[in-house]
Amino acid sequence: MRNEKQFQGWRSEQIVKVFLLSSGLFDVTESYSNSDKGVDFIAIYKERNNRRFDIEVKATKYSKSEIQRKYPQKKYNSNSPTMQFYVNYDKETGYFRLTNTNYTSELNKMVRENFIYEVKNYAQQYL
C-alpha cells in the first residue's frame, strides 16, 4: 500500500483515542486550531475544570529503550500539558509520557491503571 505509513499513523491515533476514552478521564477532540502545530489532537481532562492536554502520537515498533534513545524528552513552551504516545499499531500496545515546561514523567506502558495513576498524580501537582 502506497500510504501504509500514513495508515499506520492514523491507526495509532485511533488506538490512543480508545485508550484515553476508556480511562474515563478524558474526552477527545478530532480537530484543533492552526496554532496547534505538532499536536495530533486534544484531550479534555474532565475532573479538573476540563483542562486541555495536547496529544502527540508516534507510530513505532521500537522497544522502550529504543524510544528513550530515538525520542528523547523535550521541553514544550505550550501552556498545556502534553501527552506523548508511542504506539505499536499492530499490537495495540505502547508507551506514554506526560510533560510540561517544568516536568517530564517516565516512559510508562500504556496500561489503564498506570495511566490513571500517572494522570491523577500529575493533576494533583500541576493542575
Partner: protein, 196 residues
C-alpha cells in the same frame, strides 16, 4: 460545537448530553467529537483496521450520532478504483452472553434494524463484548443486516468473530456486492445536468 466566551478566555464544549467550559485556551476552531458514548464505535474502527495476512483492509470514518442507524462508514483500503464501502452499526456490552444460546447481550430495536437494512449498500452490525481494563482484548462479532425484520434483536449471534479471517471475508463480500451492481456503468450512462 464550541462557543467562545472571549472576555474570559473560556470555550464551551458541547457534547451529546452536556455542555461544559474549557479553561485557558481559545478553542474557537475546535470541534468536540468524542466522549464516552463514542468509545464503542472507536473501538470497532480499531478492530476493522487490524492488519491481516492480506494487509490492512478497511479505513473508517465515525458517523456516530450524526446520522441515524449508521455508526461507521468503512471503505476498503487500496489504491484501486472503485472505492467500495459498507455501513456499520455498533453495539457493545459488559453484560456478556445469554446462558442458553451464548449470544451476546446487545439489543437493537426493529426500526433500527430495518433502517440499516434499507441503506443501498452492504450493512452490518458489530457487537462488542467489552473488556473494561483493556478494551483491545474485547471480542467483536459481526452480522449482516439485510431484508425485513419483524422483531428487534434481543441478543446477537456469536458465530462470526471479527477476526483476521472474517475481516478478509468481509472485504471479499463488500467487493462482491459492489462488483455486482454495475455502479460505474450506471453513473456514466445516466444523464446529469450538472456535468462539467
Amino acid at each position: 460545537m464550541t462557543r467562545l466566551d472571549e472576555n474570559k478566555n473560556i470555550s464551551w464544549i458541547y457534547t451529546i448530553n452536556s455542555a461544559y467550559p474549557v479553561v485557558g485556551h481559545n478553542l474557537k476552531k475546535e470541534k468536540i467529537k468524542m466522549n464516552d458514548g463514542d468509545l464503542s464505535e472507536m473501538l470497532a474502527a480499531v478492530f476493522l483496521s487490524r492488519k491481516t495476512n492480506q494487509g490492512y483492509l478497511f479505513r473508517t470514518v465515525l458517523i456516530a450520532g450524526k446520522w441515524p442507524s449508521i455508526d461507521i462508514y468503512a471503505e476498503i483500503v487500496g489504491n484501486n478504483s472503485p472505492k467500495n464501502y459498507c455501513f456499520i452499526q455498533v453495539k457493545s456490552t459488559i453484560q456478556g452472553y445469554t446462558v442458553r444460546d451464548k449470544k451476546l447481550k446487545v439489543q437493537v430495536p426493529k426500526a433500527k434494524l430495518n433502517k440499516l437494512a434499507q441503506f443501498n449498500g452492504p450493512s452490518y452490525l458489530i457487537g462488542i463484548d467489552y473488556v473494561e481494563n483493556n478494551p483491545f482484548t474485547s471480542i467483536a462479532y459481526i452480522s449482516a443486516i439485510r431484508g425485513t425484520y419483524t422483531n428487534g434483536l434481543s441478543s446477537m449471534p456469536t458465530d462470526n468473530i471479527l477476526d483476521e479471517n472474517n475481516l478478509i471475508q468481509l472485504r471479499n463480500e463488500v467487493e462482491a456486492f459492489w462488483n455486482g451492481t454495475n455502479t460505474f456503468n450506471n453513473k456514466n450512462n445516466t444523464i446529469s445536468i450538472f456535468d462539467l
